[in-house]
Each structure stands twice: as C-alpha cells, then as structure tokens.
C-alpha cells in the first residue's frame, strides 16, 4: 500500500524530515513502526519499545494494532504539549 507519513516536533528534527511517501508491505501501525525502526540510528532510538510516541491515521490517534488503509495519512509524533 502507499502511505504518506508525517513526523512532528522532536521526531521531525531527529529524523531529519517532515514527511515522506512510502510503499509499504505491512498491515498495521505496529508493522510500520517496525519497518521504520529497522532504519537504525535515530529511528531505532526514538521508536524503541518503551519510548513514548503517538500514531495518528487520517488525523485520528490510533492504537498500534490499528490497520492502515491504502493511501492513508499516517503521523508519528511525541506526546502532545499544548495549552
């Protein structure tokens, strides 16, 4: 499936990109996280088990077992700190 993946705040800075288009063979948000972790470096560190990050699919926060629809806009970001 094709995905548009967005990164925000600290993750955008650590990954050195705000967004990318991915051709992705997995099914769930967790599969995508594993795929990204495999890039190593900041990807492996920031997305390691136990690190706090959130995943949104089409602009709604989801659990990691959520299925990703084709053409989805997926965002990965740190816990929010507005207000």
């Amino acid at each position: 499936m094709k995905l548009r993946v967005l990164y925000f705040a600290r993750l955008r800075e650590r990954f050195g990109m705000a967004e990318e288009s991915l051709d992705f063979a997995g099914v769930t948000a967790a599969d995508l996280v594993v795929h990204l972790q495999a890039r190593g470096g900041a990807w492996a560190e920031e997305l390691a088990a136990g690190r706090a990050f959130r995943v949104a699919v089409n602009q709604d926060i989801v659990a990691l077992d959520a299925t990703l629809p084709d053409q989805a806009e997926v965002a990965i970001f740190p816990p929010v700190t507005g207000g």
């Binding site: 709604d60 965002a75 970001f77 740190p78 929010v80 700190t81 507005g82 207000g83």
Partner: protein, 151 residues
C-alpha cells in the same frame, strides 16, 4: 461555536463579549487563558515556539468541543490556540464556555482544557540559556484528563 488556530494574539474581553452579544439566555460564561511563563523545569525560558499538525489540530479541537456539548448543556464555546513564537507573558490559549448556570460552564471549561492538553496535536519548544529544548509531556496532564472518565 468558534474554534481557531492562529499566530496572532487574542483579546479575552472581545471574545467574551462576542459570545453574549445579542442574546439574553446566557447566565454564565467561564473562561480560561493560558500564558507563556518565564520559567520551567528549573531554568529560565526567554521564548517558546508552538508547532502543530495543521488539519488534525482543528479536527481534534472540534471533537473536544463536541464531547463537552454532549456532557453538558452549553450555549456557546470559543477555543483559540496560538501557534508560532511567543514570549513570556503572551497568551497561548483561550477557552470560554457559556451556559445557563455557572456549574456547567466551569466544568466544561476545565474539561476542554484537560483534554486539549493531552489530545490536541501541539508541541512546545522552549528557548533557554542552555539552548532549545522540547517540552516533555507531564503525567499530571494525563491524570487530569483521566479523572473525567470516572463514573
């Protein structure tokens, strides 16, 4: 209902007046303004920048307001959140809630702020004497939001 994400500042008096303008059914307006502080986590902060997720932010704020309206009988709600660079003393966020009686207005105002702090995609980066740093989320904010789930 008014929901805005904007770089420019806002005026509490103007926003509250706009809510009650031309109507006589409102008995209470509760408002909250969040400000940028000059100190956090033990060090000085001389400015901060708020980043957000355009598109999702507006959607998340609309959902917060919808949730509040389903819990309480509200006559109007205004939520304004600023983004971009701000200095200590600057206003960051405004929530104003109108209802027939104060109890609902106070409760809904606090509910919206508690959920905004944990659900709306904003991130603060502070400028300190030691350089820039991203603000970490607080466990106390999760606890504040979670107490609204108690039955």
């Amino acid at each position: 209902m008014k929901i805005a994400v904007q770089t420019q500042t806002f005026d509490l008096g103007i926003e509250v007046a706009a809510i009650s303008q031309g109507r006589t059914d409102i008995g209470a307006i509760a408002s909250f303004v969040g400000l940028a502080r000059d100190m956090n986590e033990g060090s000085g902060v001389h400015a901060m920048t708020l980043e957000h997720y355009p598109g999702m932010t507006e959607k998340a704020l609309a959902k917060l307001v919808d949730d509040a309206c389903s819990r309480w009988t509200l006559l109007d709600v205004t939520v304004i959140h600023r983004v971009g660079r701000m200095l200590p003393g600057d206003s960051i966020v405004l929530v104003a809630v109108a209802s027939s009686h104060r109890g609902e207005a106070f409760a809904a105002c606090e509910f919206i702020m508690d959920y905004l702090k944990t659900q709306a995609p904003f991130w603060k980066k502070e400028e300190t004497p030691k350089g820039e740093r991203w603000v970490d989320a607080r466990a106390s904010d999760d606890a504040a939001a979670a107490r609204w789930n108690k039955t």
